[in-house]
Amino acid sequence: MTPFYFGDSKKQLYGVYHPSTAHSQNTEAVLICYPLWREYFRTHRAITQLANKLADSGFPVLRFDYSATGDSAGNTEECSLEQWLQDIQTAISELKDLSAASKVSIVGLRFGAALAALISQRTQINKLVLWDPVVNGKSYIQNMKDMHNAYVKQHLQEVRQPVHKLLLKDNEYFGFKLPPSILSSISEVALLKTKVKANYAYLCVTEEKPEFRELRAYLNEQKIKGAYNFVESSVAWDSVEALEVVHIPPAIVQGIVDFFKNGVN
């Protein structure tokens, strides 16, 4: 794997390219869209493993940090949904240049899956993998706020401090100061109202939720050939107790690799 910066030199994006390590390279390259903030750190290892496995199976892979996240340029307070979508387009171009692949597919995890669905309206995507996708942005933001407040209270109990004004700040979530604009942009995202365009879709989830069943039905309605995989796991995205858990569900990772290798039956 090769770490590098790409894109506009004033807004450089950090990415890691995994060239195919198989004897023959596939004509399809894979872009991985990370989740955001706290979830990014929980899943970084799983995504790196997925990228390695895909590369071992002949698929060149690029994973990258959106502007103002991870190692890419920009302060967290500059996060912008539109900028992230432009970043994904830049990353797709970069991946095509690096790999000379004719087709690009996207694997998106959590809000990365929502971004992947949104970008499919602008750019041709072959396969779209939605891994525990954020289906409803409003619920996602509300849950993030609730978890942060629960964590603050839990922490203050541990350090035997009264509720402290220094720790309870607006727009501060798990070590990130987020601009109100990004919170409202994310809140407006609703996958069940988003026209998804892709040749194939693969929905893989670690919880059985009504919203995932609805999304599955919605993808079927849009006549996208697809597959669905449920792998029971303790990943617990909505649990404050699981915040520190670095979760690697091997069956999910393997399921995605198999989807790329074998396609939709």
Partner: protein, 284 residues
């Protein structure tokens, strides 16, 4: 401006260099930030990125990288222990930076196991001239137990006219439970954190660092209350050592271990900036 590098044996390690906004003094030491446990080089809550950029804006070149099998660095086949590999690989990072920039002086920053590794690297390599340990090693002292047993004692001692009499009384009480507490603390340190080196070994290593004039900055969070609870604890733990101005210590009473809260991150960044400025002034 940041640059991504592959370096080290087989070019298998990944690191990012943050260049100073304004060029620093020629041969200014380079600051290296180590992994905090298994968290990759961006650090918990992207804190390492923000810290690197903050430090660089003060004129210090800053490098953050992943040890092998962490983050964007590939795994390596090695018979060495994790601790030995961490030292070797940090030396590889220093060799790489030396070859690029001709700099042979480094300051190492580490959180959690990163602090543990920073200590080992500093002892093992004379190019290290400064270290920041975030929730690093701490050894219990009489006052530590006192404050632990009587949470209000710290405030009280500040008000008592003759603290010696009060401490004499407290010593009698604490003697009875010190042994039990000692066992609790050791178990905590071994199971939750890392294996704390024997105090004698640590004393020997600190003496070596002092003889080399390595500046040491310890910052503890309130979450480490089971191992550290007052700022003079390190000096009290090693009374035979003359740290002098080489030692700086801070205790951030509201912070959790990974600085989740922005106000505490700001305190941390400002503490490190001030420490760097005081001990390694940028003469550009």
């Amino acid at each position: 401006m940041e640059k991504a590098f592959s370096f080290g044996q087989y070019n298998s390690m990944a690191g990012i260099l943050t260049e100073p906004g304004t060029p620093g003094q020629n041969k200014q030491p380079i600051v290296i930030i180590l992994n905090a446990g298994l968290v990759h080089h961006a650090g918990p809550h992207r804190m390492t990125v923000e810290l690197a950029r903050t430090i660089a804006s003060q004129g210090y070149m800053t490098f953050r990288f992943d040890l092998s099998a962490i983050g964007d660095s590939a795994a390596r086949k090695s018979r060495l222990s994790y601790e030995e590999r961490a030292v070797d690989e940090t030396k590889e990072a220093m060799n790489f930076l030396s070859s690029l920039y001709g700099v042979n002086k480094f300051i190492i920053i580490g959180l959690c196991t990163g602090a543990d590794n920073a200590h080992r690297v500093a002892v093992a390599d004379k190019r290290v001239i400064g270290c920041v340990f975030l929730d690093g090693y701490a050894y219990p002292t009489f006052r530590f137990y006192l404050y632990r047993i009587l949470p209000k004692a710290h405030k009280l001692t500040q008000k008592i006219v003759n603290p010696k009499k009060w401490i004499h009384l407290a010593r009698k009480i604490t003697k009875r439970i010190t042994a039990r507490d000692n066992a609790d603390t050791s178990e905590y340190m071994e199971n939750v954190y890392w294996k704390l080196p024997h105090k004698e070994q640590a004393a020997k290593e600190y003496a070596e660092l002092i003889s080399r004039s390595v500046c040491l900055y310890f910052i503890f969070t309130e979450e480490q209350i089971l191992s550290f609870n007052y700022t003079n604890q390190i000096r009290d733990s090693f009374k035979n050592l003359s740290f002098g101005n080489l030692l700086s210590v801070d205790l951030f009473a509201l912070s959790d271990h990974t600085y989740t809260f922005m106000s505490q991150q700001k305190l941390l960044f400002s503490g490190i900036k001030n420490w760097l400025g005081a001990n390694f002034p940028n003469k550009a």
